[in-house]
């Protein structure tokens, strides 16, 4: 295995396009190293992006939008002064991944590119309307987060392409997001179901909403029916029931060691309600 440390994204792209065999990019490494250890993947070339300028930065633009460097860790996101005020759901979702130790390494970008349907940060990013910048041989393009993973372990990134930043939109007034996951223990588990809700209110009425589910389908889902159930409501019981029904209806899960189809389908509805209540309270407090 070759270990390379490019100084720029352009260098990284050149290294990737110039290498044969299995290539992996290394950000936090909390998935790549585990896969190497378990002999699931042994890359021929490992390209460590952490020495590229600016990859550890978390910055807020004048319009209120956020750019998060690809090597920013969960711990750095949690410790950041402003990010969690604007996007508490995204930060919480990242913070739920693994242990304190894993938080010292794990990144949003890695979580996304690992393309696990159960990745915690991905539903939160999708609900938030996040995009990523993808740099490749033909320059840089912007892609919605929900368009990156195409199936378990698979992404839409072409050979030689890598994510060069994560972009969160401006929060704006009356907005709030939340992410909840279900795990059997209190920590150290992979989500059996994850649910993120991001909404905006005007007074008590929900005017915008995005709902995303994780671990209930081959990729994280953006559930428009669930959002529709919320928009125009004051999060009354009828809206919550409609939300839960829409969330459960969107599920296409599998039976596995972590949960059953029935369990995941039901829990998706439960979590959607609970996450919506938190997001709603946060949104109203942001007016």
């Amino acid at each position: 295995m070759r270990y390379l440390t490019p100084a720029s994204f352009e260098d990284a792209v050149a290294m990737a396009t110039g290498s044969d065999g299995v290539i992996r990019f290394l950000a936090g490494g909390t998935d790549v190293l585990v896969q190497m250890r378990a002999d699931i993947v042994t890359p021929d070339t490992l390209i460590d992006v952490k020495k590229i300028d600016g990859v550890h930065d978390i910055s807020r633009a004048d319009d209120g939008s956020w750019t998060i460097g690809v090597a920013s860790t969960g711990a750095e996101m949690t410790e950041h002064d402003g990010l969690g005020k604007d996007w508490p759901g995204v930060v919480e979702a990242m913070d739920l991944i693994g242990s304190t130790q894993v938080q010292g390494r794990a990144t949003l970008t890695g979580n996304l590119c690992n393309a696990s349907p159960a990745a915690d940060s991905v539903p939160a990013m999708i609900a938030a309307g996040a995009t990523v910048s993808v740099t490749g041989p033909d320059g840089t393009r912007t892609v919605a987060v929900e368009d990156i993973a195409t199936g378990p372990g698979k992404t839409s990134l072409a050979q030689g392409e890598l994510i060069s930043s994560v972009n969160l939109p401006a929060r704006g007034a009356g907005g709030g997001d939340a992410y909840l996951r279900f795990i059997p223990r209190t920590e150290m588990d992979i989500a059996v179901v994850g649910c993120a809700v991001n909404l905006r209110v005007d007074g008590d009425t929900i005017t915008e909403a995005r709902v995303s589910l994780g671990a209930v389908a081959p990729t994280a889902l953006l559930v428009t029916d669930a959002a529709t159930a919320l928009i125009g409501s004051t999060l009354d019981d009828a809206a919550l029931d409609a939300l839960a029904a829409a969330a459960s209806a969107a599920c296409n899960p599998i039976d596995d060691k972590r949960g059953t189809i029935e369990f995941r389908t039901k829990i998706a509805g439960v979590l959607a309600k609970r996450a919506a209540k938190i997001a709603y309270d946060r949104a109203r407090a942001q007016q």
Binding site: V34, R37, T42, A75, Q101, G104, R105, E187
Partner: protein, 159 residues
Amino acid sequence: MSKIHVTTKINGDTVEFLCDPRETVLDVLRDRLGLTGAKEGCGTGDCGACSVTLDGRLVCSCLVLGAEADGKEIGTVEGIAQGEDLHPLQEKFIEYAALQCGICTPGILVAAKSLLEKNPDPTEEQVRYWLAGNLCRCTGYDKIIRAVMDTAADLREAS
């Protein structure tokens, strides 16, 4: 397979080593440098027995490549005591019987020290969640949590 030359600081000392690009910091510490204080319980970041600090940040050394340590500072359990003086956490762990078999102890001490440096007055819940990545199979955690809480109280009083 060509080896990578790495220069790093471990517990304050400059150390150079050659490693295979696939080797982790844990592999290097244990098999190349003879620093066997960090333990391998899983090799996949699930048990915390290999906890070290990397530039002051708590990490699992099994989830960091040796090559990544170049230019960094690593702190291990071997660096917690100062000379012949144990760190208050180490003393309290012995006093409270917060260890039985002791295999998780190095990782828990590194993690607990990192917590107290960040938060000198943690609640029981904060201690439990901070240490959730450090598995202990012997104690049921009771005495570990008490030892960390009481060390924190002692350190606050002393400062």
